[in-house]
Amino acid sequence: MMNFRCIGFFLIPLVLGLLSMAYHPKEARWSPPPLAPGEITYRDAAALESTIWVDARKDEVFEKGSYPEAINLNHDNFENQLPELLGFWQPGDVVVVFCDSLSCDESHLIADRLRGEVGLEDVLVLYGGWSSMKKGLGR
């Protein structure tokens, strides 16, 4: 009798816990969070027909290695680097801006400047940044 009570003492919370894990309405799912407006995944961006990749990281980081054909455009050097991007850009091109990873916000800030100040319409931010691109490139 005592043994059954002991087992029940541990077993009931365990079963309740497992049930909650399986059927809880706010169950955490192993899927990436939904994209914010203006964001795109690497897979979708790489499938676009004409994409201009903009690396929003600092010059010295960009020089160490970036995406093939990416153009560097960051806050520190925005004025000097902007004409290169505008020279490459052709009507219909989609500009995809990235920085290091999910935790950096430079890509969003540069994208905002390109949309507002510069007046480019199709500007997106790469979800996951350079980290997601490296995975896509198999590095």
Partner: protein
């Protein structure tokens, strides 16, 4: 109903670990701070003050979301009753518009192992140029006029000294809409048989006494295929 040994051990483990899991109780004065920079500001300094209400509070690591922000921390371990502060300096550089930077702390608090302190700054453009990029498609018989708005977003008096282009195939005329709003009318005029320009730079120059760090601003006109 009396508890047996196993039940006692279970309860002891539960209640014994509770204080550890609760961690330090820290009260922050202001985890988010907002600043409105002036046109001549070069940096913004934010001080995040806190008080440890109970237990020991340890800041294991401190980092920022941007290389433009540096931090200063007096020490890493604080006892209950102690006050502390973190000073963060955001170097504005050439940044414009609304900017958010974060100081990220890793702590010994199991409830709040990562704490984000936010600095939000509105940096005036001084002279806001919209858009800074115009383009026309090559091969037209005539090219339509396009417009650029120049808006002054600071309280100080700003005067535009001149507007010019580096290419004779591009004409620019300026009109004043309000005391803080100007409009440029921009139009390519390509003579017969002439090869149109690829890129032209429009330079907007302020008077030397303008209370802004930048006295020259640029917009770009391109011919696209």
């Amino acid at each position: 109903m009396p508890l047996n040994k196993i039940q006692y051990v279970f309860l002891l483990v539960c209640f014994g670990t509770a204080p550890v899991l609760t961690g330090a109780n820290v009260r922050w004065e202001n985890q988010k701070q907002y600043f409105k920079a002036t046109a001549t500001d070069t940096k913004v300094e934010a001080t995040f003050e806190f008080e440890v209400l109970s237990d020991t509070f340890e800041i294991k690591t401190i980092r920022t979301s941007c290389g433009c922000t540096t931090t200063e921390l007096e020490k890493k371990i604080y006892q209950a009753g102690e006050n502390g502060k973190i000073t963060a300096v955001f170097d504005l550089g050439l940044r414009k518009g609304n900017q958010k930077k974060y100081v990220i702390l890793q702590t010994n608090d199991p409830k709040h192992p990562e704490i984000h302190l936010e600095i939000e700054v509105d940096i005036p453009y001084g002279l806001l140029i919209e858009p800074r990029f115009l383009y026309w498609v090559k091969g037209q018989q005539s090219y339509e006029v396009q417009y650029i708005d120049l808006k002054i977003d600071v309280e100080e008096v700003i005067e535009i000294q001149s507007v010019s282009t580096d290419n004779s195939q591009l004409t620019v005329e300026m009109e004043q809409i309000t005391p803080t709003h100007y409009r440029l009318s921009v139009q390519p005029v390509i003579g017969e048989g002439e090869i149109p320009f690829f890129r032209s730079i429009i330079t907007i120059e302020l008077t030397p006494d303008a209370p802004l760090r930048n006295k020259k601003y640029f917009a770009y006109a391109f011919m696209k295929t």
